[in-house]
Amino acid sequence: MSRIELSKVNKYYDREHILKDVDLVIEQGDFMTLLGPSGCGKTTTLRVISGLENPQSGLVTIDGVAVADPDKGKFAPPSKRNLNLVFQSYALWPHMTVFENVAFGLTVKKEAKSEIREKVAGALEKMQIGEYAERYPSELSGGQQQRVAIARAIVSQPKILLLDEPLSNLDAKLRVDMRAELKRLHKDLNTTIIYVTHDQVEALTLSSKIAVYFEGVLTQCNTPEEIYNNPSTLRVAEFIGNPKINFLKGSLKSLSGDKLGVECDFGALEFGGVKGRDGGVARLFEREGAGCGVTLAIRPEDILVSQKEMEGFFSCPVTSLLPAGSETLLELALGDNQLMAKEIGQRRYEVGQTVWIGLKQNRMNVYESAQGKLVLRAIED
């Protein structure tokens, strides 16, 4: 078991408030990704878990045992937390060979020489870098250095593996390879992995859970699917997904029974099944009444495009065309809104041509514009 729990954790650097009341639970075997733009506190969270930084208030427990308890002034040193870390810079010791780098932790623990040799060889084998054991880090490529850093982290079979933007220094192709490698590693080792990144594709590909941060606040923590389908705020919605999600401005018009009406500058929309997908829209309507500003969010792939006029579709001109081989992106002007639609395969359109688009109302999330909070959830179509 290794359940990590952070509750009401606050961290300051001098006067700067880095982590603000962070609550986070990481279950045994999770691949938890901490995601957010740079400077949002994700690396600091990692360092607090590792014990390299101590929070000023809150509580951190691993398996129910407090490892950082500022109120009691109790902090377990990193080496007593049964975890290991891969730094963004890899932090390989340049004056030691690959073997010495990987073996260092074991020699510190004074394990028998033969055992060390065996374990190091095993770790290097797992990372497929056995042949480089006698090289110095400067004699390796970036990708190989990366593997050494991971081998060093897993050789002591930690229960928790912390990875701080490990792929950000690799080129695009290697990055994709390493993603698959990390996923395999997670399965093989059966450890808890906490992974820090600002790359949302990485997060969506790898994780079993994602925690999204903005400015020291943990905004949403859930599975990748949930985060992609129902971002809890406009900010999360905008951050996740490539190409970006589309926003449409509108205002509440009516709520009767299960149906919600929204007025936009290009026409009216109606949402059904409100009770099943309500995230507070009924209360909002009660409080603010008709006219309350909302923002509709729809993913580019949920916009249907037709060359012919169709029932319930809106007409709009194509302003730009971005073919990308396997998919075609269309930029459209709908009323005052700029929209991006995505179609699979290669489609032929002309810039300036008028098309008709259908917005899948089930696939739309509705946010209250003022607070940016999700009030109506998207559901399966």
């Binding site: 390299l52 975890l83 810079s89 010791w93 004056h95 932790g105 510190v108 623990k109 400067s138």
Partner: protein, 612 residues
């Protein structure tokens, strides 16, 4: 350029010749090549030729000895070298001073690296309080000339056995310090170490700064203890900074003149550099040259050894990580003790010498420590026959005003010219690393670094006491001081120029060239502004070094061209220490003021330049 070639193309044999002429014209027309050619000629003339002159003169019979031996002047002889290596005076004149020099330099290097390393670690890695203050004051330690610390030592620890008045220590405690404390090896090593530790401090500090904290954190995660991390991670990573610290300290220490002169010569404790001086004083110039050559060889050998010592494979530039370390190592219980120790070091190494100098400059009778002995005579007194042979206080003394004027004129000119030369040569070197001319210029402009000041001034003394090619006799002129100082500081200037230029991408220039900007214009408008910071730091560093320079110019000054430092030395020699102390105080005041203003006006930081 092609058009010239076409226009002047004659037929037949002349064609080949004119092609070559055109090639030459084209080559020279390129400003970069022109500068290369001119600087190679100048450097050969000012660096290589003097070395050759001094070497060859030691094998030629000199005029003085020609009459004695009956052989013609200039005939080939080994007498000077055999006098140095194998004669009845060899031991006193060569072997002992050589041993002393080596022993002093080695001890100073070891002590300097140890002190500098420990201080660097404390300042950059632990929670030592008042770090900013300490780093600042430690660098100030370097701005105080080394011989001024020797003067202060003498004032405190002088004993009455050597003659003259007793030192402060004896006056206060009534105990006469033994000779080994007052003069010779021990005080020389202590004062030099208190001065040159700054090199190691700066170099090791920057090495520590370049080691990302993550390397140490990683070791911490594996459960390694503080001591183990220090031994296995931090220390090995700092090792590359040690050879350069060693070269700098050793070569500076072995060439240092002021300190062994003040603290050694009175008890006949000689080093190579003071022996060179003594020989020249005794008109044994050629003998002095042989010693100078040995000194150069020793200095070059150290550099060679150091280059060998750094293994290829393990040499690494630290893989830069983001330095996330905001956690300093806690000194815990030791904190007050260590803070106190560092404080004591600062007080004894920096504050006390300065205080002693100031105090000494206001004492009418040296060695008499009572209130009624205090006077401002040496600062503002009019000439008075009863005191110091009627020498007026430094603010009323025309000699000192003249020296002040000379000094400022000298250092300003030198730092200006050397900096400009450094930028130009740095440009040529950085853009011509792959060309022979670039590498050659780099090597030869570094050479003066290996020539200890005193040896260099002996060379220039002999070389310019007769007309040279197109240069008239320069001995006794101000121009000679300027010339030698420029050459001496060239390595600094060129190195800083090269590293500034390396940081400027050639594409910036190429972008300008494509638009048709002439080279000179792109150099002035693009390169210089971008290199501004580094250039200004180099200027400042040379200015400050020049203010402190003693050994380089001491043999070359005349009463007309004397500088503040040379006056200090002559006042000390004639026993008017209060004047020396007052002038030294003035020098230090100027240095600190200039540095302060420079830091205010720009971001120039001399501490970045000292080490490099």
């Amino acid at each position: 350029m092609g058009s010239i070639a076409e226009m002047t193309l004659p037929r037949g044999g002349g064609r080949k010749l004119s092609l070559q002429v055109n090639r030459l014209v084209n080559y020279i027309r390129n400003p970069q090549n022109l500068i290369s050619v001119i600087s190679i000629i100048l450097l050969l003339y000012l660096v290589a030729l003097p070395l050759w002159e001094i070497l060859s003169s030691t094998f030629q019979l000199q005029f003085r000895d020609a009459a004695k031996t009956g052989l013609p002047e200039g005939s080939l002889t080994l007498r000077y070298w055999s006098a140095t290596f194998a004669s009845s005076i060899s031991k006193a004149m060569f072997y002992k001073p050589l041993m002393n020099s080596l022993l002093i330099s080695l001890t100073v290097s070891v002590l300097g690296i140890t002190i500098g390393g420990v201080l660097a670690w404390l300042v950059s890695r632990t929670d030592l309080p008042m770090k900013k203050f300490f780093s600042f004051i430690l660098v100030v330690a370097y701005m105080v000339p080394s011989w001024c610390k020797a003067l202060a030592w003498e004032v405190i620890f002088k004993n009455n056995r050597i003659g003259g008045y007793p030192g402060m220590f004896q006056a206060v405690f009534g105990i006469s310090p033994p000779n080994w404390i007052s003069y010779g090896f021990f005080p020389i090593v202590v004062t030099l170490s208190l001065h040159y530790f700054v090199f190691s401090f700066l170099l090791i500090s920057s090495a520590l700064a370049s080691i990302g904290g993550d390397l140490e954190e990683m070791a911490e995660i594996t459960g390694a203890k503080r001591g183990l991390i220090l031994r296995k991670i931090t220390f090995p990573l700092v090792i590359p900074a040690i050879p350069p610290s060693f070269i700098l300290t050793f070569s500076k220490a072995i060439g240092s003149f002021g300190v062994p002169a003040f603290l050694g010569m009175k008890v006949n404790y000689y080093t190579l550099s003071t022996m060179i001086y003594a020989n020249i004083r005794n008109r044994m110039t050629t003998q002095a040259f042989t010693l100078g050559i040995v000194l150069i060889l020793v200095a070059s050998f150290t550099v060679y050894l150091n280059q060998k010592a750094i293994g290829k494979r393990k040499s690494f530039t630290t893989i830069g990580g983001k330095s996330t370390r905001k956690n300093f190592i806690k000194l815990k219980k030791l904190k007050p003790v260590i803070t106190l120790l560092v404080m004591a070091f600062v007080v004894f190494g920096v504050v006390l010498p300065l205080a002693v100098l100031v105090l000494q400059s206001v004492m009418l009778q040296p060695g008499v420590y009572s209130l009624d002995n205090l006077t401002l005579h040496f600062w503002i007194g009019e000439g008075n026959g009863a005191i110091a042979d009627g020498e007026a206080g430094i603010f009323h003394n025309p000699r000192i005003w003249k020296a002040l004027f000379n000094t400022l004129r000298l250092v300003t000119l030198v730092s200006l010219i050397a900096t400009v030369a450094g930028v130009l040569l740095g440009y040529i070197i950085s853009r011509g690393r792959k060309k022979l001319s670039g590498r050659f210029i780099e090597q030869i402009s570094f050479t003066p670094m290996l020539i200890p000041s005193i040896a260099m001034s002996t060379i220039y003394l002999s070389m310019f006491s007769k007309p040279q090619l197109f240069i008239p006799v320069l001995y006794g002129t101000f121009a000679l001081l300027v010339l030698i100082s420029i050459v001496k500081y060239l390595p600094f200037a060129v190195r800083s120029g090269t590293s500034s230029m390396m940081q400027i991408n050639t594409e910036l220039e190429e972008a300008a060239r494509i638009e048709g900007t002439p080279w000179v214009k792109s150099f002035v408008r693009l390169i210089l502004p971008l290199a501004k910071g580094g250039v200004f730091s180099a200027f400042l560093l040379i200015f400050i070094s020049g203010m402190k320079e003693l050994a380089l110019i001491m043999l070359l000054v005349t009463p007309e061209t004397s500088t503040l430092t040379s006056l200090t030395y002559s006042y000390t020699e004639s026993g008017y220490e209060q004047f020396s102390n007052a002038i030294t105080t003035l020098i230090i005041f100027i240095i600190i003021t200039v540095n302060f203003i420079a830091r205010r006006v720009s971001k120039a930081d001399i501490s970045k330049g000292i080490g490099g």
